[in-house]
Symmetry: C2
Subunit: 370 residues, 2 copies
């Protein structure tokens, strides 16, 4: 077992927190002494013990003189409103002598302060092992911390010829149940799902996690003119307090007031220059609400807005072996006239789900892993 092996184990432990730690990162810790693992831990859930503390507390013997492996830099007490005691101080107090981390914590209140604190206390710090994997593991957290807005993932279910519905708006179901299960797995990893109001009008989706276990994300509706139907599931089901509507109608609008009384959060934005809301402003408002990741599920105009604004980290296409012909297109006008201007996805991964192709990639992979 070498540093790499221990760090791989750290990643496995961290992974166990997937879908439960947000807006915190997934973190794992392994403590090694005399070539033997004497403690392990991971961050189980937002608000609970940090991985480092959990590993120290679980150690089978004294951690004095041990090496601590962790995917992220241990925290300090520089974060405002901190929920848990800082890990770096505990590490110092326990006389751990070496700390190995994959990468710095991108949280601007920590970023480098954690290792500085350890080094000032004569602890040897090694950094950079599995750094790429660490940033991929916590890609949502890294993006949120660095940009102040959520990690944005577009999810498009379409026919081979790029249609998300027929000309009459029929879209149920372009992809099959296995693909749907994959979508629900994805949903469970996001703080929020987002759709345009047309999608609510056409499909009346629940936007919940049903096919797998997992927490239900917030439901964000972009509804410039507040035309969402009164009976929409997202306004009437028991999760309606998790529905957030962005609109440009005035706060004193009776419909807006009615929705607020029913427990739905209505956020008023000035209208953009177009008939659409300004996506970038919506995203920063979500960031302020500590929503660190958002899965955008439709429809075509909404996908197009995000692409045009260059506001997305990742995109996943579920492509069904179906041909619809002219209908509702997944992506509209992007103003691209030469192929050199086209979006070329990076770090592409293709999976086969029954007879559907799942193609996903990043807008800018380099910015995710560095």
């Amino acid at each position: 077992m070498n540093d790499n092996d221990y760090m791989r184990r750290v990643m496995e432990l961290a992974e166990r927190g997937r879908g439960k730690t947000s807006p915190n990162p997934m973190v794992g810790t392994v403590i090694v002494k005399d070539g033997k693992v004497i403690g392990e831990g991971y961050h189980q859930e937002y608000g609970k013990k940090h991985a480092e503390i959990s590993a120290i507390d679980s150690a089978s013997e004294s951690v004095e003189g041990a090496t601590l492996y962790c995917n992220l830099e241990p925290c300090t007490n520089d974060i405002p409103n901190k929920k848990t005691p800082p890990c770096s101080e505990r590490i110092i107090k326990e006389k751990i002598t070496r700390v190995v981390i994959a990468s710095l914590d991108p949280n601007p209140y920590i970023n480098g302060r954690g290792i500085k604190k350890l080094q000032e206390n004569k602890i040897r710090v090694d950094m950079g092992i599995m750094a790429e994997e660490s940033r991929i593991l916590n890609q949502k957290y890294f993006t949120f911390m660095r940009t102040g807005r959520p990690f944005i993932h577009l999810k498009i279910a379409q026919s081979l010829d790029g249609r998300i519905a027929t000309s009459m708006g029929h879209s149920k179901w372009i992809t099959n149940e296995t693909a749907l299960k994959k979508v629900h797995e994805l949903r469970a990893e996001y703080d929020a799902l987002l759709v345009g109001t047309n999608t609510v009008i056409q499909d009346n989706p629940s936007l919940t996690v049903r096919y797998v276990r997992g927490k239900n994300p917030y439901r964000i509706i972009l509804d410039d003119q507040l035309v969402i139907p009164e009976k929409a599931v997202v306004l009437t089901d028991e999760l309606r307090t998790k529905t957030i509507i962005f609109t440009s109608v005035a706060p004193k609008n009776p419909r807006a007031q009615q929705l607020s009384r029913e427990g739905i959060k209505v956020i008023h934005l000035k209208s953009g220059q177009t008939k659409y809301l300004a996506i970038d402003e919506v995203m920063f408002r979500l960031g302020e609400m500590n929503i660190s990741s958002v899965l955008v599920e439709g429809g075509g105009e909404t996908f197009t807005s995000f692409l045009k604004a260059n506001l997305f980290e990742k995109i996943t296409f579920f492509i069904s072996p179906m041909i619809i012909g002219t209908g509702i297109q997944s992506i509209g006008q992007l103003g691209i006239s030469s192929l050199a201007q086209a979006y070329r996805l990076e770090h592409v991964k293709i999976d086969i789900i029954d007879s559907q192709a799942m193609v996903e990639g990043y807008r800018d992979y380099q910015s995710i892993i560095t």
Copy 2:
């Protein structure tokens, strides 16, 4: 070794003729006596020996009393202008006592007459082993024989969002060189390639087999108004006598006469009800010319015409991980308003070619294998 094992070997042998036997089928033969293979053969090239004759001629001992395995029914002398002596008579003459075939020959001049002839001569005939594989192997031949028109395969190279070019017509290159090589492998298996005249105007393609070894197919251009540019590669290169233009302009049109003088075949059709040529008539004219398979390579209007006419057996999408937005769409108006009417490809196969997805399937798989 049992009947199935021998038939599998037959298929392997037949496969060696791929791309060389058209409009004949690929055929393999194995001769077995006392549990030992004593002869093998396959149809190497159009006009050369049939597989059965080749196997008998190559036999290491007398074939009297042997079993002959063949994917297709042996031929009779009922075919007009037959190039080779009929296999059924040779089998009878050589006193082979059992014949095992995968399926009947769909050629209306043979279809059942071959086995009848053998049975009349007291030869035991067993049929149906690997029948599906046999029909897939010779799908082009089966379709041509049954319908009198070529097997039609649409090949579409597009972006994730279903665009084959930008709004300015830029399409070079949406897919990469590995995909291009796959396309050239496909081309080498077809008697003809077909494009609409817009594709010639936009891309000026060579429509030849370059990235792999193989014979160059005919090049069919649909050009209702005969607007193909004079300098088009397909009109000026050394293969121009393999270019066939379908048009509705009159034979006495000077441009048509000029093209004919230059060795290009110009076929005059009455204009259809729309601005397009009647695809079904084009296909039957190709059938009359003994063109048994055609790979349709573009553009969007041409693909749409074939889909609307329900005239295709197979379709292959090469999907590049690129997003173009509004541009030239791969498939246009099909008049589909409900998802129940959408084309759902059958027997879908998905391959990953670098970071591109290759998705292919059949319009009606059952009709291919039965």
